[in-house]
């Protein structure tokens, strides 16, 4: 049990860093909603674009998959966290828009249409 606690604290710190970018970590984080519905609407191809483009352009970023974000009407959905910024969720991200997101938001800090504001309460804020 004590081990679990320790493990949790350790990992928690690590993930916290990932979520909040308060560790001076300068890496960009891209999370892609990949439940069945996301994948069916092309999330896998979108993920590949992000990975390929990041490698090609030598951008230091982490791309991970996650579960359903709940925005079925706007799949595929992608959450991008830039160091020092709040995470932003973009909807309707097809392959073309994925490159646009890299060009505009990631490299130039310019937002792109299709932003979905977080409109629910997380329980850890309570």
């Amino acid at each position: 049990m004590a081990d679990l606690k320790k493990m949790q604290e350790n990992l928690c710190a690590k993930i916290d860093m990932r979520e909040n970018n308060n560790d001076g970590d300068t890496r960009i984080k891209v999370k892609i909603a990949m439940a069945t519905c996301g994948i069916a609407s092309g999330a896998k191809e979108v993920m590949e674009v992000f990975i390929e483009e990041f490698t090609k352009r030598n951008i230091d970023a982490v791309v991970t998959q996650t579960g359903c974000m709940g925005y079925c009407y706007a799949e595929p959905t992608v959450e991008i966290t830039k160091p020092g910024y709040e995470p932003i969720t973009f909807g309707y991200v097809d392959v073309k828009k994925a490159s646009k997101l890299i060009d505009k938001y990631i490299l130039n800090n310019e937002l792109v249409d299709g932003i979905i504001p977080v409109n629910y309460e997380k329980i850890d804020n309570k």
Binding site: T36, C37, G67, E110, I123, D124
Partner: protein
């Protein structure tokens, strides 16, 4: 290249749009251009922020200030004060209704949100294939706490106090279910996770399993500890391959970490889980049918009692809970029964996940506190009805539930209120219908589903539902007489009263509730041979307006069944006997001479 420093996010939701968010957007754009700030400030339209009664909403980034009820003429002030001078525009901030204080919320704001994510707390946040991410978000802490600090009795007590009720639809108090199973003495007990999600249009459980499989595993282990079972079985339909895959990965990782298997966390508690596949039969969501299917028998229900808690899987005491019920449990032990019970209504605690589908703008998966109204769900979270059509009804509870209408829009949603309104909570499918949907046809759709899915064991369900379906078909085809409507109602009651399991006992609900709420539509179908929504094809007629028809013959040439006759340059006529109502003629006509009656 100069980088953008400030972002102004303008809500583009339906109701903000109605209150001039487009003008706000345009004003900002013009002002930015005028001041030559294009390279530093960007304005963009976003999705709905979900606080429509205070709209239009404008969010400033990077400092995350929200401005409410912004008017187009406020744009200059916001730009001047906020961006250029770096000062907040106080009178546009959120004003706390109690303290009257202006809140400047650079912190994540939690005060206006309609949704609370408990069961979905990790969905869309963690990588479901990585146990470390689950653990980092307090995963398996609840199991650890229960195993090391609490007795099974105390654990069940907490669950009872939380008020959690079964999320599969029945709403049986989960703590009491566990207590009953615990009280039965046996050499072997089982806990089962019912992941046989079968309602048309429902995908709550799949999303939980695909997004946060560990939360279900953890809760099953807690269940095992409380009820005295060391084996868990997940019954999942084989149509959910990704959910199965992620569950398998999760189980493997949990075993490697010693969180499943022998001597969990060094406490001497053993618990392991296996997966059984269902072939996707709706009736297997019923717990006795589910258990028979797991045993390799036909998925048919049996009479209760004996309840599964006395004699279930392989004749042993078995505790069956639904996926979403499980997903709530770890959060209850982490944050306490009081916290959980503080959310919701008097008799229905916590939240409910709904799969919002149908004629609604924001189709999606939502989790809302019990007690929220349908109006809030449909018009705020759901963004209203598609294409500005008029709301007609919403079906909750899938084929077992009923239709809720305009008059129910402001009823707080919980188990008991929905039953009082003639529907039920169900597992969480919510299908929204607009004025273009025919309620008789909807009832027929659900009956068609039940007829398909009836296991055939008992005759009321096997034969009765088939007869109901045939009668509905008669109504939609215009062949029914008034007596048929009485027969529909009577037969519905007979099926409800005499069927063996929940499937048959609830299958006439869509018929009854549509008869109750939309009797006039039935009357129109029977008496006037008319379908007001135009969706019952047998009742509509394509007619050629002789005044507009110039006799070009285009329609006649395109009719697949040669139902249109007429000389060149003379008005044509459609033979209603031959017409199959495909609409090809109307599509081709260039003179708007064909209309539907």
């Amino acid at each position: 290249m100069a980088k953008i420093k400030y972002h102004i996010l303008v809500c583009g939701g339906i109701s903000c749009h109605a209150s001039k968010s487009e003008d706000i957007l345009k004003n900002f754009q013009d002002l930015i251009k005028m001041k030559g700030l294009e390279n530093e400030v960007q304005v963009i339209r976003t999705g709905c922020f979900g606080f429509c009664e205070k709209g239009p909403i404008v969010k400033m980034m990077p400092d995350n200030t929200f401005y409410f009820q912004v008017k187009p003429e406020d744009c200059a002030e916001i730009l001047e004060e906020h961006i250029i001078k770096g000062k907040r525009v106080n009178h546009l901030l959120y004003r706390d209704p109690v303290t009257q204080e202006y809140k400047s919320d650079s912190q994540p704001i939690g005060f206006y949100k309609k949704q609370i994510r408990i069961a979905l707390r990790n969905c869309g946040f963690i990588n479901p294939e990585n146990i470390d991410e689950y653990i980092a978000r307090d995963g398996y802490q609840a199991l650890g706490k229960v195993l090391t600090e609490l007795t099974p009795e105390a654990t069940i007590e907490i669950l009872k106090k939380s008020g959690l009720r079964g999320r599969g639809g029945g709403g049986f108090p989960t703590g009491i279910k566990w207590e009953i199973t615990r009280a039965v003495k046996a050499d072997q007990k089982y806990v089962v996770c019912n992941a046989d999600e079968g309602d048309p249009g429902a995908f709550m459980d799949r999303s939980v399993l695909e997004g946060d499989p560990h939360s279900v595993l953890e809760a099953m282990a807690i269940n095992g500890y409380c009820t005295g079972a060391d084996k868990g079985v997940i019954y999942i339909r084989a149509e959910y391959p990704l959910a199965v895959e992620r569950l398998k990965i999760a189980m493997k990782q949990a075993r490697e970490y010693g969180l499943l298997g022998k001597d969990i966390l060094g406490t001497g508690f053993n618990f392991d889980i296996e997966i059984r596949y269902g072939a996707g039969a709706f009736v297997c969501g019923e717990e006795t049918a589910l258990i028979h299917s797991m045993e390799g028998l036909r998925g048919e229900p049996t009479v209760k009692p004996p309840f599964p808690s006395e004699s279930g899987f392989l004749g042993k005491p078995t505790n069956v809970n639904n996926v979403e019920t499980y997903a709530n449990i770890p959060a209850i032990f982490l944050k306490g029964a009081e916290w959980y019970a503080s959310i919701g209504t008097a008799k229905s605690k916590g939240t409910k996940v709904f799969a919002l589908a149908g004629k609604i703008n924001n189709v999606g998966l939502i989790e809302v506190p019990m007690g929220i109204t349908l109006r809030e769900i449909i018009f705020e979270i759901g963004g209203g009805i598609k294409n500005d059509r008029k709301f007609k009804a919403v079906q909750t509870g899938g084929p077992s539930g009923g239709m809720l209408t305009e008059k129910d829009l402001d009823t707080p949603i919980d188990y008991d209120n929905l039953i009082a309104a003639g529907s039920m909570m169900g597992s969480g499918g919510m299908i929204v219908m607009d004025e273009d949907d025919c309620m008789v046809a909807m009832a027929k759709f659900y009956l068609e589903f039940t007829v398909e899915e009836s296991c055939g064991k008992c005759s009321p369900c096997r034969i009765g539902n088939k007869r109901l379906f045939e009668m509905l078909e008669k109504v939609t085809q215009g062949h029914a007489v008034m007596e048929d409507l009485d027969k529909l109602r009577n037969l519905s009651f007979v099926i409800k009263d005499t069927s063996l399991c929940g499937l048959g006992q609830t299958s006439p609900n869509p018929v009854l509730s549509s008869l109750d709420n939309f009797y006039h539509e039935y009357l129109e179908h029977v008496g006037d041979k008319k379908c007001r929504s135009g969706s019952c094809k047998s009742l509509m007629q394509y007619i050629i307006n002789a005044e507009n028809c110039i006799g070009c013959t285009l329609c006649a040439r395109n009719c697949p069944v040669d139902a249109i006759a007429g000389e060149r340059k003379q008005a044509h006529l459609i033979d209603q006997e031959k017409c199959i109502k495909c609409g090809a003629c109307m599509e081709k006509c260039k003179f708007n001479a064909i209309f539907i009656k």
